[in-house]
């Protein structure tokens, strides 16, 4: 029982990363009808930007120029890194996606993959193959409830992700920008005629998604403080799987499916040798998609829709 509850806590944390990244995939999909395959690597870039910002702030504090409490450094890191990474995301959109908006979708997917490779290799070339460690911003305190250990890092991670998901949902539902995004998801041709600046909205969508990925990257750095250039690949692809499982274009579905994937992985690792994690997790994904090919919240496929 204790093991079970402990795993639930771990799964919540692990699922938060997937959920946050999957949200970015899903948002870009719902607006532009394409997946940003560079998103996993934007997560990596976000983590590195977070690393540099926080290291700079910590160094400033140590040299006595600007002494800030740790929690404030964390908040500042998250905000600054989110802003900087959103610029990276907008750049990716401008360079890799906008010229291809009328091209076959597979071409855009390939461009995304290639931008991802450029980001990984660029990082490797600039910073070298050395792994870097994230500074400890939260002194780990461990609580025990009924035999279950919960660290404050885990609480922060889960809370921040849920908060961001709710905020994003509200943004998409309540604001004018969100309305424009939803409109674009609905119809790509008429909406510009109504005076919606589609290029701005597309950039905004990429920026928001990248900001979320950056937050996920920083949270990841808090929990597993070792960063390397290829950290985004597998996490990114798994988050992509979560976005699909949730139903393409469904923000709510992506979040939930992210947590679901986290649960599947943690519990597989609990019951089987941990090397079986990917094997079983992806087998489950194949089974789910075979029986429910449009994900949990997506629209059912029909050949007629394509005519």
């Amino acid at each position: 029982m204790n093991v079970f509850l402990q795993s639930v806590v771990n799964a919540l944390q692990w699922g938060s990363f997937y959920a946050l990244i999957a949200l970015g995939y899903s948002m870009v999909y719902s607006v532009l009808m394409l997946f940003n395959f560079a998103h996993g690597d934007i997560f990596m870039v976000g983590a590195y930007i977070g690393l540099f910002v926080s290291t700079a702030l910590v160094t400033l504090g140590a040299s006595g120029v600007l002494v800030l409490p740790n929690w404030l450094i964390l908040v500042l890191t998250i905000i600054l890194a989110a802003i900087l990474t959103s610029f990276v995301g907008m750049l990716v959109e401008r360079v890799g996606y906008r010229p291809l908006r009328r091209a076959p979708r597979a071409s855009a997917a390939l461009t995304g993959l290639m931008i991802g490779i450029i980001l990984q290799t660029g990082n490797l070339a600039l910073l070298g193959a050395r792994r870097r460690s994230f500074p400890t911003l939260i002194e780990t305190t461990t609580f025990e409830f009924a035999g279950v250990t919960v660290t404050n890092t885990k609480i922060v991670i889960v809370l921040v992700s849920i908060l961001l998901m709710v905020a994003l949902h509200q943004f998409v539902r309540r604001t004018k920008w969100g309305m424009a995004m939803r409109a674009m998801a609905y119809d790509f041709v008429v909406v510009p005629l109504m005076g919606v600046p589609i290029n701005t909205i597309a950039a905004l969508t990429f920026g928001l998604g990248s900001a979320l990925a950056a937050v996920a990257g920083i949270l990841f750095g808090l929990a597993y403080p070792v960063l390397e250039p290829y950290m985004g690949i597998l996490v990114g692809w798994k988050a992509f799987v979560a976005a699909i499982l949730g139903g393409r274009g469904s923000v709510l579905g992506a979040g939930l499916a992210g947590f679901l994937l986290g649960f599947i992985e943690i519990f597989v690792a609990l019951l089987f040798p941990s090397t079986f994690r990917d094997l079983i997790a992806f087998s489950i994904v194949i089974v789910i998609l075979t029986f429910r090919p449009h994900g949990f919240f997506g629209e059912a496929y029909s050949a007629r829709l394509r005519l």
Binding site: P104, S107, L110, M114, A125, T275, D278, I286
Partner: protein, 438 residues
């Protein structure tokens, strides 16, 4: 006026070149190889290259850029001039020979062309082991690109499972050959005399291909109900499942990989399989079912209304493509004589996709060009180490922006019309026409 005169000899050359049949070019290729054997080494020394440039000088492009002019000179002297002059000089002879062969039987003619091409390629590659390896890997790259193009180009799906099919074929055929003919610590002594091996090796490859096809059912069956992104995910999950499965199979070495494959995948073997693959896929896409593929891609509902059996089309295509990926994987395992599951991951997928989309979607010619071009290019960029993986993606993005369907899209070829003699028959056909004018 002066410009016109200057143009004339060039135009004459061009029309003369237009009359060179494929056979003439192949003879030129053989001649170039002979020239390289005779004068290659001394010429390379005289040009300051030290030794014969291995891949037309592309391997020197970044390793020692100062040698590039010499490499170019070498290329012109050893390849361009002999090929061009022999092709021009033997033009009447080659045309007559091509005509004779054609009269004998188109099949014989095609076979003779392929044999001459192989002769040239083989003797070119024999100069050293590096060339042999690059030629083998390039042929395999062409096979893989072509089979992936079937699904991603002709059928218009975004399938990510090709490395998985490759891995299935590679491991199945490796296990078969090692178990039956070689024997290892884990599998015990060989079950059959190893002398039989080279003869039964094709069977092992075919079994590997069939196992890959069996795996393809996992992707083909869901494709009846879904397509696009969901199918992409299913195929991606399939690939990761295969990789993870192999990593967990201790019998075949797990993540450490599997080695000890016999050295049976010589240049001849790989070449024959590659030719068979190109020929079969080329005729498949030109058949009724190949056209049905395009119909399924462009409008499934409309295709269905036009009596296309979409399910059968999808099923056959997936299994066919996976079969060839499996065979290519088996060959790859026996060329490298070592495979590990890490080699069939996302990196491989990115490479394969790059070759397909660089060469051109929906195109046999483009796939061949993509495979060859990508291999040459990546050999050229090898000295740049990691920067290679910045330059290749940038180039691909540029290709995608300016030619979203790839460099040579929508192009198949007709082998028989390729080997037809040129110039002579048209002139003959023209004779009564000219006579009537007189």
């Amino acid at each position: 006026m002066a410009r016109n005169q200057a143009k004339r000899p060039l135009a004459g050359l061009r029309s003369a070149l237009a009359e060179v049949p494929l056979l003439g070019w192949l003879l030129g290729m053989v001649a170039a190889v002979i020239v390289e054997y005779l004068v290659g080494a001394p010429l390379a020394r005289a040009l300051g290259l030290g030794r014969v440039p291995l891949l037309f000088g592309v391997d020197l492009l970044f390793k020692s850029p100062l040698l590039v002019p010499s490499a170019l000179a070498y290329m012109v002297l050893v390849y361009v001039l002999p090929v061009g002059s022999v092709a021009l000089v033997t033009r009447p002879l080659a045309n007559r020979a091509a005509e004779k062969l054609m009269a004998l039987s188109p099949v014989v003619s095609v076979l003779v062309h392929v044999a001459v091409f192989y002769g040239g390629l083989h003797s070119w590659a024999l100069l050293n082991d590096y060339r042999v390896l690059v030629v083998k890997l390039t042929l395999l790259a062409v096979m893989l690109t072509l089979s992936l193009n079937l699904v991603n180009g002709y059928m218009g799906e975004f399938s990510c499972s090709h490395p998985g099919f490759m891995a299935l074929g590679a491991y199945t055929s490796s296990v078969l050959t090692v178990l039956l003919f070689v024997g290892s610590e884990r599998f015990g002594p060989a079950l059959l005399p190893s002398a039989l091996g080279p003869f039964l090796f094709p069977l092992a490859l075919i079994v590997g291909g069939l196992v890959a096809s069996l795996g393809a059912l996992t992707v083909a069956i869901p494709s009846f109900r879904t397509r696009g992104d969901y199918l992409a995910i299913i195929s991606l999950a399939f690939m990761l499942v295969v990789k993870s499965l192999i990593e967990n199979l201790e019998v075949v070495g797990g993540a450490r990989g599997f080695m000890g494959q016999p050295d049976w995948a010589g240049l001849t073997t790989v070449f024959i399989w590659a030719v068979a693959c190109v020929a079969m896929i080329n005729s498949f896409v030109r058949s009724t079912m190949g056209k049905a593929l395009n119909a399924v891609r462009d409008g499934e509902g409309a295709a269905e209304a036009m009596t296309v059996d979409t399910r059968r089309t999808k099923m056959v295509t997936f299994l066919f493509a996976a079969f060839w990926a499996g065979v290519a994987g088996g060959l790859y395992a026996h060329v490298m004589r070592y495979v590990n599951p890490g080699g069939f991951g996302l990196q491989k997928l990115a490479e394969l996709l790059a070759m397909v989309y660089l060469g051109g979607l929906n195109s046999v010619v483009g796939s061949a060009a993509g495979g060859v071009g990508f291999m040459l290019f990546s050999e050229a960029l090898r000295p740049l180490e990691i920067y290679k993986w910045i330059i290749i993606p940038v180039l691909l993005i540029l290709v995608m922006i300016f030619r979203p369907t790839g460099l040579i899209a929508f192009r198949e070829f007709d082998m028989v019309s390729l080997v037809r003699p040129k110039g002579a028959p048209t002139r003959r056909r023209g004779v009564p026409h000219v006579a009537a004018q007189d």
